[in-house]
């Protein structure tokens, strides 16, 4: 099921009945069409259409793809940053450890959404209006990533400090391995376990954060909507009768997050050599 979701999202540009982002293909006359199984619906617009005549199914597929993409990228960014800092802090100790942990402490006192909003806001002010839409995605990724790295760093630092004292690390030092090699080859494989757990949970969180930000209007724009944006757009029409514009993207979001979590569980078990 997970694979179906992910596969569908990735394949969106090819299978969507309509390219929802090509303004030329939009026909305002088709706006506000209800889903196919209700009166007034048509097969061409299977899940109905939104206020600008976009086919909802296509929009959802594309949106899911963006949501997933942003989520994954943000988590990867946070992971790389957090794990590197955590490893370095745990293994080297001393002032590096103290510095990293203080930065982490400061960052933890800000809620993730706030940080993301902050970074996003700064980006919007700093960059010209035309460029804003284009760089929305990278900014979003960095924003979400920066708010999330601390968890990885903390966990990895703790595990690294434990592993560092173990005799196989001592053995590697006796052999003459350099600290960087020891960190990457010996310690890292043994501390990645909890990281993967956090990571998979965080993909879901990142997707939701992104959806929240888009819902609030500071995420992805309507010209390139993610699921969150779609929900926001549809929200305005919820009580005027065109419920499908909000509901279907909402359902899609929930399904996507659920399937990501399941995928994460499976991945963790599969990667543990002791269970093979």
């Amino acid at each position: 099921m997970t694979l179906a979701c992910v596969g569908a999202a990735l394949a969106a540009p090819w299978i969507a009945p309509q390219d929802p982002f090509n303004p030329a293909a939009l026909d305002l006359n088709q706006a506000f069409r209800p889903p196919a199984w209700l009166d007034g619906g048509s097969a061409g617009y299977f899940l109905g259409s939104d206020d600008q005549g976009r086919d909802l199914l296509s929009a959802i597929l594309h949106g899911a793809r963006i949501s997933l993409g942003v989520g994954l990228a943000a988590v990867c960014f946070a992971l790389v940053l957090g794990v590197s800092l955590g490893l370095a802090a745990g293994y080297c100790g001393g002032w590096l450890d103290a510095l990293v942990m203080r930065i982490a402490d400061v960052q933890l006192s800000f809620p993730a959404i706030l940080i993301a909003l902050l970074i996003d806001g700064v980006a919007r002010i700093a960059l010209p209006a035309g460029a804003q839409d284009a760089i929305a995605v990278p900014v979003l990724i960095i924003a979400i990533g920066l708010s999330a790295w601390v968890q990885y760093a903390r966990t990895v630092r703790g595990s690294t400090m434990v592993e560092k004292e173990k005799e196989y690390v001592q053995a590697a030092r006796v052999i003459g391995r350099r600290p960087l090699a020891i960190m990457l080859l010996h310690v890292l494989p043994n501390v990645m376990g909890p990281v993967l757990v956090i990571g998979t949970i965080q993909i879901a969180t990142a997707i939701i954060t992104e959806a929240t930000l888009s819902f609030l209007g500071v995420g992805l724009p309507p010209t390139r909507p993610s699921l969150g944006t779609l929900i926001r757009v549809g929200n305005d029409f919820l009580f005027s009768g065109e419920w499908w514009i909000t509901v279907f993207p909402g359902v899609a979001l929930v399904t996507l997050v659920l399937s990501v979590n399941l995928l994460g569980d499976w991945l963790r078990d599969a990667l543990n050599p002791k269970l093979r």
């Binding site: 006796v174 003459g176 043994n190």
Partner: protein
């Protein structure tokens, strides 16, 4: 006479165990230093097995790390005249990386030290595994698939793959069952014969040490109190602590005999007694022992022995 393979000259090692800076300042406390090794001097000769025995807290593990180069002395010098040294650790469970396959674990020293060409590494690993009694197939497995004794064999294979002149063994059999211990000790003895190795064997188990050592050094609170050939030490122990240790070992031969158990216990290493650190527990302690630290003279660090106050009637 050949120069010794390893010389330890008046080596001390201090650990800073002070409380966090803020706490110290608030309570007006100074720094706290734990002297784990205190003025140790000895040498390791080619081809011998030198054992270091003592109870917990005597500093023998620290000495092991100093000897193999994992740690540097705070004072004094360590001179190693060989090519390479390797170490075998106590815990069979923590000494092998659980995420690496055995063949990679054993091959690591060869690769890092560039002791063989890439193409030869595989063959060398198989050879080493065979030397310690394991098969080539075992190379494909992960450490958790092996028992404690087998893991120590893997550790030995890894150490040997580094082609060391000196092998430091830190309690290598303490975590093993008696019958497995016998296998490992026999294996180590055989490897020493075949490969002309030199061992430093750290242990708290006097019986094991009596089996495999040529010379034995007894440590107490970071100091060397006696150093003698094994036969000598076990038949004519001189330092009161050595005698106490030997008395305390449960002996199978003396089933059912009543014994006088030893007195007291090892003091806190952070606050060692002044003078001779053993004096609170020593039946022969006098005023000088309380003030003055005995030097290692004629392989014994004890005023009473040096002054001839202890008789060795046997």
């Amino acid at each position: 006479m050949r120069a010794p393979l390893l010389s330890v000259k008046a080596v001390s090692r201090d650990f800073d165990v002070s409380r966090p800076w803020l706490d110290r300042v608030l309570e007006g406390e100074g720094r706290r230093l734990l002297r784990a090794v205190d003025g140790l001097t000895l040498e390791v000769r080619h081809g011998e097995t030198l054992a270091l025995v003592g109870e917990s807290g005597c500093g023998k593990s620290t000495v092991a790390r100093l000897m193999v180069g994992l740690d540097a002395p705070s004072d004094g010098r360590i001179e190693f005249r060989g090519q390479r040294r390797q170490m075998i650790f106590q815990s069979p469970y923590a000494s092998l990386n659980p995420r690496w396959r055995v063949r990679d674990i054993v091959a690591e020293p060869i690769r890092v030290l560039r002791l063989a060409r890439k193409a030869e590494v595989g063959g060398r690993v198989v050879q080493l595994l065979a030397q310690v009694g394991l098969s080539a197939d075992d190379g494909e497995k992960y450490p958790h698939e092996f028992s404690g004794g087998q893991r120590q064999r893997i550790s030995i294979a890894r150490a040997l793959s580094g082609e060391p002149d000196l092998l430091i063994c830190d309690e290598p059999t303490s975590a093993l069952d008696v019958s497995v211990q016998a296998q490992i000790l026999n294996l180590m003895a055989e490897l020493q014969r075949r490969l002309a190795l030199t061992y430093v064997f750290i242990s708290h188990n006097l019986a094991v040490v009596s089996q495999i050592a040529d010379r034995v050094g007894v440590m107490y609170l970071g100091r060397l109190v006696e150093l003698a050939p094994a036969g000598e030490l076990f038949s004519h122990p001189r330092h009161p602590y050595t005698r106490m240790l030997l008395e305390a070992v449960p002996q199978i031969e003396r089933t059912g005999e009543p014994r006088t158990p030893v007195a007291g216990e090892v003091p806190n290493p952070l606050a060692p007694p002044p003078g001779c650190s053993f004096h609170p527990r020593c039946p022969h302690a006098d005023e000088r022992c309380r003030r003055e630290r005995p030097e290692l003279i004629d392989a014994v660090a004890c005023h009473a022995v040096q002054e001839g106050r202890i008789s060795f009637a046997r």
